[in-house]
Structure formats: structure tokens, C-alpha cells
Subunit: 399 residues, 2 copies
């Protein structure tokens, strides 16, 4: 076998999003880009803000000596300090640059965190629905993903998480605003979770980390503010990036923030820095670090996404489809009509050139995720196709 057994297996069962990508490509070639309603991908179509362009241009012009060279594995100190000030405000706890480690995006951050904390067979608890890559990230470092059942309203299911805890639990991994549901977990739910984790730690002598994957933190609607975790639970760690709020997913720039109230913060920070080095990231890209240090106060293009959300809701409403009202991120989680199968519904939608990702891919069968980080016109023009697809799906079910 030319590749490892685990990779061979993973390649065999190619992911649903990947399948949708590939089929989407075929459809676009056949029918033209503008005629395919591709809501499959979380790749922001909005360009980075003007402030980013200006900063990048200025740094490229200055071309400071040594500015593309190595720096400490944790990142430039001035960048870590600038982020620490912002994170302190967001997370309701005073932390300094020492608690911030620059990463190769949030995906890099999560791998560094899991590498740092997992012993073989250790468990990472997630609550359905969840971003499917978490399973691979956990397996990379010898861990096992344990799924807690979803709550009916897709809030964090604290009871189910509690039931999933064991003496092998190294961490609980949450994502708010949530991909795929758009739910923002309320402060009181995080407090309940904190109580449960503290009680579990006291009982077993092992306090699970709470890892908060927060790339969508700034993308919220209707005045909702994403509640913080660092001030809620001392063993919490934030993973985030500038992929979504500044539309820089290709540049791979993110960070890790460690709760300063953790007595073992220093050991953890040293482990995160070591893991950054040996996992081959070495450091977050130098130029992008220096860019974002100057852009910590720049706001995401929330208004644009809010408009698209409104249009998408109108489209689904007029087709008689129900959904979770997104409180954040840029996904709308839509219920398959008449309690039907999500894979079947996705197939019918595809016949009408609408691409979404089945909820099964996130551990939530019976739902479909549509990404609205695409232009408003495309969303508007999909209305007729949604109606026809829904009717066809229902009549095929009756037949």
C-alpha cells in the first residue's frame, strides 16, 4: 500500500463537502457559473476590507530588513500584545501577549492545541452538529472524538455533554457562532457547562479543557454578542482566525488564546509553542502577522451578510421551508420537508442546480446547510428553484 492505512480509508470515504465541490464543478461547467446556486462552501466572496489593502501595501513598500525571517515560534511579540488587548476585551479577562500564540489559521490552532494536550486514546467531546474536520484533527494526535447528542433547538446540550464525559476526557470542543447552525451559545449555557466541567474535574482530578473554536465570533446579527469563554472557565482555550471576518482564509493567519486564570497556563503555553514548532508550522506567516496587528479594530462586513441572511430567509419562507434563524456565521440550517432524508433532499435540490451540504455530514441528519457567503443576486434568483425542488421532493415521497 503506497499510503498509510488510515489515509487510504479516509480517501475511500471521501467527504460529503468534497463530493459536493466536485459535483458543483461539473454542474458549473455544464450550465455556467451563474446558473448554479452553489451554497456549499464557506469561502467568503467579500474581499478583505480597504484597511487591509492599505496596510499590506504599506508593509510591502517599507520592506523592513529581516521582516520575512524567522521570529520566535509563538509569533512576533508586538502582534501577540496587540491581539491580547483585543482578546481581553472580548473575553472579559485581562490577558497579556504571553497568553497568545500565533497560528496557521484556526485549523492550525486546533491541531496545535490537540497535539499539546492529547494522550493516546484521550477523548474530545463535541456536541452535534459539529464541523466534520474535528474528527480528523483529533485522530491526528491519537485522540478519539466522542459525540454528544444535539439539543432540539441546537443550543449546546450540556446534559448530553455531561453524560459523555469520562476520565479519558481531555477536552470539550465547541464552536460558536456555530457552523452549520448559525447558533450563538448563550452565556448562561456556557456557565452551566463550566459548572459541569468544574464538578467533573473535582471528581476525577482531571479538568477537561474547554476549546472554543471562534472564527465567526464577530459575525453576529441583531445585536447579539458572542459570549466569552475565557472569563467563564479557567481551563478554556480559544482558537480563532482572520479567515472569516477579514476574508483572508487563503493566508492562513490565526491565533490561540489561553485563559490566564489557569494555574498551569505557563506549561500549556510552552507546550503550544513546542507543538507549533514540531508540527512543522514553525510560525504563523510573518507578513500576515504584521498586517493583522494593525487591523485588530477593523470590523467584519456584518451588514452585507445580514442582508444576505434576510434575502435567504425570504427565499426559504416563500418556498415554505423551515430553518434555524442564524444568530451568527453565514450558514442557514434548513429542515428537510416532512421529516425527510437529507441526502435525498440534497439530490433533488441538485437537480434544480441548488448545492447544499447534508446535515448528516455534521451529525445532524434531516437538515441541510446552505452557505450565504455568496452574492445576494444568486440567493434571490434561487427562489423559484427552491419552490420547485421542494414540491418535487414531497411528491416523490408521496409516490
Amino acid at each position: 500500500m503506497p499510503v498509510s492505512r488510515s489515509i487510504q480509508k479516509a480517501l475511500g470515504s471521501s467527504s460529503m463537502i468534497r463530493k459536493m465541490f466536485e459535483e458543483g464543478g461539473v454542474l458549473k461547467k455544464k450550465y455556467g457559473d451563474v446558473n448554479v446556486f452553489d451554497f456549499s462552501i464557506g469561502n467568503p466572496d467579500i474581499d478583505p476590507p480597504e484597511a487591509f489593502r492599505k496596510t499590506l501595501l504599506r508593509l510591502a513598500t517599507e520592506n523592513a530588513a529581516g521582516s520575512h525571517g524567522y521570529m520566535p515560534n509563538a509569533g512576533y511579540q508586538h502582534v501577540r500584545d496587540a491581539l491580547a488587548r483585543k482578546i481581553s476585551r472580548e473575553q472579559g479577562v485581562a490577558l497579556d501577549g504571553r497568553c497568545v500564540i500565533m497560528s496557521v489559521g484556526a485549523a492550525g490552532a486546533l491541531n496545535v492545541i490537540l497535539k499539546s494536550i492529547l494522550n493516546p486514546e484521550d477523548e474530545v467531546v463535541v456536541c452535534k452538529p459539529y464541523f466534520m474536520e474535528y474528527r480528523a484533527y483529533t485522530a491526528n494526535h491519537g485522540g478519539v472524538l466522542v459525540e454528544a447528542e444535539a439539543a432540539a433547538n441546537f443550543n449546546l446540550n450540556v446534559d448530553a455533554i455531561q453524560a459523555a464525559l469520562s476520565d479519558k476526557t481531555a477536552a470539550v470542543l465547541i464552536n460558536s457562532p456555530n457552523n452549520p447552525t448559525g447558533r450563538v451559545y448563550p452565556a448562561e449555557t456556557l456557565e452551566e457547562l463550566s459548572v459541569v466541567l468544574l464538578r467533573h474535574g473535582k471528581k476525577t482530578g482531571r479538568y477537561p479543557y474547554l476549546i472554543a473554536d471562534e472564527p465567526y465570533r464577530e459575525l453576529t446579527y441583531d445585536g447579539i454578542v458572542t459570549p466569552p469563554v475565557l472569563c467563564t472557565y479557567p481551563h478554556s482555550i480559544v482558537a480563532s482566525s482572520y479567515s472569516k471576518n477579514l476574508s483572508l482564509p487563503g493566508e492562513r493567519i490565526g491565533y490561540i488564546a489561553v485563559c490566564p486564570q489557569n494555574d498551569d497556563a505557563d506549561v500549556l503555553i510552552n507546550a503550544l509553542i513546542y507543538a507549533t514548532r514540531v508540527l512543522g508550522y514553525v510560525n504563523a506567516p510573518a507578513l500576515m502577522q504584521r498586517c493583522i496587528a494593525e487591523l485588530v479594530e477593523v470590523k467584519a462586513a456584518v451588514d452585507i451578510y445580514a442582508n444576505r441572511r434576510m434575502v435567504f430567509k425570504r427565499v426559504l419562507d416563500s418556498a415554505g421551508l423551515s430553518y434555524i434563524n442564524p444568530e451568527g456565521a453565514f450558514y442557514i440550517f434548513c429542515k428537510v420537508p416532512a421529516g425527510g432524508d437529507d441526502l435525498a433532499f440534497v439530490d433533488v435540490l441538485k437537480k434544480h442546480l441548488i448545492l447544499g451540504v447534508p446535515g448528516s455530514a455534521f451529525g445532524a441528519p434531516g437538515w441541510v446547510r446552505f452557505a450565504y457567503c455568496v452574492n445576494e443576486d444568486l440567493i434571490n434568483r434561487s427562489a423559484g428553484s427552491f419552490k420547485v425542488a421542494k414540491e418535487q421532493f414531497l411528491s416523490e415521497r408521496r409516490a
Copy 2:
């Protein structure tokens, strides 16, 4: 324990280079930067070439729509194609862009390769001396590093590699031009190795990959050209970066090239792309990919390093110290006088404010590595200190 057992252990035995970094920092604070002869680090002090500055500035000015967004995990196709043309020339084999996967530096490339091919307990054979991070990279993915003894002249020791092969051998990992010796492995040695690996594969049914870590390929002296591996052995893979030849180590831009003559090339390529995704790299940084696509023909600043090499040799000669004549890279591997201990010699050197890395850190006790990617003046001014340090070391040994 707040971190994993393996990380705890690694942090406890902090690496020799790291130790040298830290002590160097203390010395520089105490005596001033210009008075410490810091030859410990492989961080090029030469800034990237003018062509890089121009390209970066132009791309930042153009600010093309979507240019910071996601692209396929393997990288932009035009970048892969541009590199494929260059690699085809260098490696003496015609490969297309499909065989090139963009990576987060050579360290990222090596982790992606090892993740793709290693089953638990699989072995990776290295020949001493070797870059010490290989051990951690291999362990990351469940593998075990197996050391083959060095050859007396620090050429690749094909007999020792042959003796180290087993049915668990997934790969042989080589590095030419070599860190720390500066040796460039001759074509005939690579051919001998190829014969051994083919024979082993035929016997066991498992052909070990030959992984060539080549970040220093272009940095060679005296007209030496680094012999290619892809045309020598069909199961070979190249890992490389623009860290050293374009002085961009902080930007984390590198690539993997797969031999097109491998019948399983497609499966391997898919595995490498999958590993790039799930290890959390996702893709090599977008802007740097687009930069280097236009700089594939730009040459490294070999002349500057050649001068420094000459000066460093003169300094060691005048102190009566012997060394391996560097054929490439920017390290000079110096023999400890009178067959002495490298850790003890490094300690004496440090008293005279000279920082080098003990050969023990590379599996070659009795030697010390000095990096000459520092300015020529510093090298020149170290001559007196080298002389005094050597005399002191010898007189302490006699005492």
C-alpha cells in the same frame, strides 16, 4: 498533567539549539550584540532579493479580487505548474503540476509526507548526522526514527542504511546539501542507494520511499550541482522551501514534488492533499504562493555565502581547527580538537562568546556546527577568540 505526556517529556529535555538560543540571548544582553559571535542559528541574515520585493509590491498593489481566499488544498494550479517546470529541469524527469503540492515550508512538507505514508510503528531511516527535528516529525505520525551510522567522510552511508532497513521501513529520509555538514551527496551514492532500496522492495514487497529534504539545493559552491533524486528512484519525494534560497523562512512557503514514474503517484498525491487539509495547514499561504510563482528563476545569493565560507575557513585554519569543506548550505562542521568532547568544547567556546551547536544534537559527537548566515565582519572578528578558545580547551584537557 495539563499537557500530554510526550510533550511534557519533550519540554523537560529542551533541545540543545534552544538552549544555545537562550544562552545566546543572555550573553548578547550582557556583552552587546556585536560582541557575541552567534553562529548557532540557520536564519539567513540576507534580505530577500529585489525581485521578491518588486513582485510582492505589484501583487499588493493589484489586490486582485479573491486573491486572499481559499484555493484547492494543493495550491494554485498556475503556481504548481510553474514549479513543475523548474523541478523537471532540476530533477531530470518530466513532471507536471499535478505532481507538485504547495506546503507550509519544508517542515510542513515533511509532516504532510510522513502523515501520508506512516502506519503505527513504521520506521523512517536517517543517516547521521541529521537535522534533529526529523525525530519529532516522525513521532508526530506514529513512526519511529532509525539512525544509520555516519560515514567517516559524512557522505551518505549506503551500507549502514541498508543494514537499517526492515519490513517496517516506510522511508529513508536524506538531506542534501546537508545540515549540519554541508556535504552534497554525489550522484553515484544516490544511485547505489536506489539499487539497495529497489532490491529491498523486491525482496519485501514494500519499496521504501526516498524523501529528499532539499531546502539548500541551490546553495552550493565551486560549481557543484546538487544531484537529483526524482530521476534516480521512482519512489522518491522531494520536500523543499523558499526559506533559504530567497530568505523567506518566516513566510512558510514550500512544496512537495512526487516522482511521476511511481505507479502509485496518484494515490500518493491524493494522500498528500488530504494530509495538507486535515493537519490544519489547509493550503500554503496564498500571497506567497503567487509571489514565488514569478520568482522560480531567481537565484539565491550564493556569492555572498561563498565569501563567508572562505572567511570562516580562513578563521578556522588560522586557529588550527579542522572541518568538513562545505559543498553547500551555510554550515561549517568543525572537528573538536584532539578528539575531545563537543559539549565541553562548546562550553569553552561560549566563554569566549562564540556560539555553535554541538554535533551530538545531530547524532555526531566530537563535532560542532557553525552557521555562517551572519555578516562577514562578525566571522572575521571571531578569529582571535577561536584561537584562544582552542588553546584553552587543549590546556584544560592536558590538566
